[in-house]
């Protein structure tokens, strides 16, 4: 495709164009994600918008999906932890992927990895929102439709993430898959280190608390 290199005078136009470009990306992933960074078709503003929509839909789903599909135990729900269930893996993925690919000829920068990953999330809000509305009009007998389409949105997004990484790092298919797996391992390693870090910190704090307690007994 001949790249569309038209210039925008108004930043608003650029924003809407880049947001619209997400639709092109999800239908033409290889071509789209190449242009996303190499032709500067994507913007951070659009990426943030897509991420925000994803988070918003994820929360809306809790309340507005039919109880046939999602039963929420509201007493135990922490909305911030719930959001973290998207944000935390996303952050790990972006950092892990960038950290690894930088060492192995990856052309993508940290910001570009973030942008491409966010663009790849587009199918989630796009499919889940109509699905959320749809769920209120079905019975348990028709529940299969919901679960199939819902799974489809996740699989689509996952495939897009993989495709996007290959394009922005200029990797071949094999290398791309290898680094997808490697990134998943990197995420595990980071979780492991974080856990060690926090348990060390809490033990350190506990030591000083018990020390203070001991001192108070003796004062």
């Amino acid at each position: 495709m001949i790249a569309n290199t038209k210039q925008f005078d108004n930043p608003k136009d650029k924003y809407f164009d880049s947001l619209k470009f997400a639709l092109y990306c999800i239908t033409h992933p290889l071509d789209g994600f190449w242009d996303l960074t190499h032709e500067k078709r994507g913007t951070y503003a659009a990426a943030n918008t897509i991420l925000f929509l994803t988070l918003l839909i994820r929360i809306l789903k809790l309340r507005f999906t039919s109880f046939i599909f999602i039963q929420v135990y509201w007493e135990d729900l922490n909305i911030f932890l719930y959001l973290a269930s998207i944000l935390f893996p996303l952050a790990l993925w972006v950092v892990g992927n960038w950290g690894l690919t930088t060492l192995f000829d990856g052309k993508g920068k940290l910001g570009q990895v973030y942008m491409a990953t966010c663009y790849a999330l587009t199918p989630y809000p796009l499919i889940q929102f109509p699905l959320m509305v749809f769920s209120n009009f079905v019975t348990v007998d028709e529940a299969e439709f919901y679960s199939v389409v819902s799974a489809l949105s996740l699989v689509w997004a996952a495939l897009l993430v993989i495709a996007a990484m290959g394009q922005i790092h200029e990797y071949s298919a094999g290398k791309n898959l290898l680094f997808t797996v490697a990134t998943l391992f990197a995420m595990l390693v980071m979780i492991f280190i974080l856990m060690i870090f926090f348990s060390m910190i809490s033990q350190g704090v506990a030591y000083f608390i018990s020390l203070a307690r001991e001192l108070m007994f003796r004062m």
Partner: protein, 505 residues
């Protein structure tokens, strides 16, 4: 002074933090433990309930006017207004007549029979009476089940089955039995795990029925394959679980209970099976949780592990009550497998048990035998309990409106009672008030019933608005179509030769 102030402040801060940390724990401890009567909601949380049954009276040996005190009573059977109590430790069976729920009188004491080789009983553990009035006794110590007529004349005995698969050294120890209308005998014996032993009415052994399916973890299987002969002998073998107890309901189905292992309880397996004539399990388990007693298996008050349902009885409204000998509780389930009530506990107070062993019912009243306390506890339903029973029975009779009214009253008395919401919903569903029914089902997460109501609601809605629906669909197709048409006509006009020629001219 300054230093002291500092320590005072840190001390107060630490105190504040610890109280803040401990506070939720204390609240949790309070909500975790249920009251005397409780139920579980959709999430498996304890829901304290209004009392369903009241212990009306505890009958001890003295209350019954017995000269020899009861000793380790094991079995109870109710036939009309007559209760048969197996006083196993004293080798006798006591026939009691229920005058009222507060008054039982001893009719006779059965300690010997006429016309048999062995005329005395030895550790009788269970008794049953057939429709013809013949009495069947599991005479465990004498390795037989005997059938006597109502005047205690020996009729026949049922002995160890002649089956090649049974160990010839095994001593036949029948523990529990049930008799059907044709006087066929189903019996459980210690050490026989092939299912229930079934005898024809002429005392011939006709086979084993309804063995529990064997379940094991595949990891256990691999370990077993790798283990040596000696190690293998020490491992638990993959064999069916023995039944704890059986009960023949008024329709001729056998309710059988088994003790679950911790794994089976965690996997939410049923502890009760309802066996048909073929010996297959037909228990309906549509509840949020399995039919197996308590959901929380943690230790508390010295008792831990899953509930061990040691006896079961089924009332005429298809509600069956299981007796847990681990925590001394009673669990009632309806024919759909929803928990109707749970109450009881271990202790010395009336309505609590030390080692309950048997349960049976007369009407809605429950009679529970405690083998350590040597007593019979009579439970009568409270007003709340009777309301629930009314609601269920009216629904079964097809009086949906009355059932709905009763459920509404149940809900007024106990707003945490999930069955009331579902009951109102089901009665509304039958009265074709689908939209209201949906609301009640949604409140208690009953997806199946909700879908039934919604399907009807949706059908009616579509039928009522069919004109608009067709109109919208037509518009969706026609509008873009006509726009396209208009455009192409306009395009044709614009590029028509005459105009082009004229322009040129």
């Amino acid at each position: 002074m300054r230093k002291k102030n500092f320590f005072l402040k840190t001390g107060m801060a630490i105190l504040a933090i610890t109280t803040a940390v401990l506070q939720p724990l204390q609240v949790k401890a309070a909500t975790d433990e249920g009251g005397y009567t409780y139920n579980y909601d959709y999430w498996g949380d304890y829901m304290n309930s209004a009392d369903f049954y009241n212990s009306c009276k505890v009958f001890t040996s003295t209350d019954l006017g017995l000269d020899v005190k009861l000793k380790n009573p094991q079995g109870l059977f109710a036939d009309g207004n007559t209760l048969y109590l197996c006083d196993s430790g004293n080798n006798r069976i006591i026939e009691l007549n229920r005058l009222s729920s507060e008054q039982l009188e001893v009719v006779r004491i059965i300690d010997s029979i006429k016309g048999s080789d062995i005329e005395t009983l030895n550790n009788p553990t269970d008794v049953a009476v057939s429709e013809d009035g013949n009495i069947f006794i599991a005479d465990q110590g004498n390795a037989r089940v005997i059938k006597v007529d109502k005047d205690l004349n020996f009729l026949m005995e049922f002995v160890k089955p002649t089956d090649n698969t049974l160990d010839s050294k095994l001593v036949f120890q029948p523990t529990k039995l049930a008799v059907d209308t044709a006087e066929r005998v189903y019996c459980i014996a210690t050490g026989i795990n092939k299912g229930l032993i079934k005898y024809e009415n002429d005392a011939t052994f006709s086979g084993f029925v309804g063995a529990t399916p064997v379940s094991f973890e595949w990891t256990d299987y691999i370990w077993k394959k790798l283990a040596s002969q000696e190690q293998r002998a020490k491992m638990e073998s993959f064999v069916p679980t023995e039944y704890e107890n059986i009960y023949m309901d008024y329709e001729g189905f056998i309710y059988a209970t088994k003790a679950r292992t911790l794994e089976q309880a965690r996997a939410d397996e049923n502890a009760v099976r309802k066996l048909n004539l073929m010996g297959s399990d037909i228990l309906v388990s549509n509840g949020d949780w399995s039919v197996g007693g308590d959901l929380y298996l943690g230790s508390g008050g010295g008792y831990e592990g899953p509930s061990i349902l040691t006896d079961v009885t089924c009332m005429d409204n298809d509600i069956y009550v299981c007796l847990d000998r681990n925590r001394g509780r009673l669990f009632g389930y309806d024919d759909q497998g929803h928990m109707v009530f749970a109450f009881g506990g271990n202790g010395n107070m009336d309505g609590y048990f030390r080692r309950p062993s048997a349960i049976d019912h007369i009407g809605h009243e429950l009679y529970v035998v405690d083998s350590l306390d040597c007593s019979i506890t009579a439970f009568v339903p409270t007003q709340f309990g009777e309301l629930v029973y009314t609601a269920i029975e009216e629904f079964d009779k097809g009086h949906y409106e009355e059932s709905g009214v009763a459920w509404q009253e149940v809900m007024n008395q106990n707003g945490n009672y999930d069955l009331a919401y579902i009951g109102i919903g089901r009665s509304l569903l039958r009265q074709e008030q689908y939209e209201d029914a949906m609301k009640y089902f949604e409140l208690k997460y009953d997806a199946d019933n909700y879908s039934k109501a919604y399907k009807q609601y949706r059908k009616i809605w579509v039928e009522e608005h069919i004109f608009w629906i067709v109109l919208v669909i037509l518009a969706l197709f026609l509008v873009p179509l006509s726009i396209g048409k208009v455009r192409s006509i306009r395009h044709e006009i614009d590029t028509a030769d005459i105009f082009v020629v004229e322009k040129k001219g």
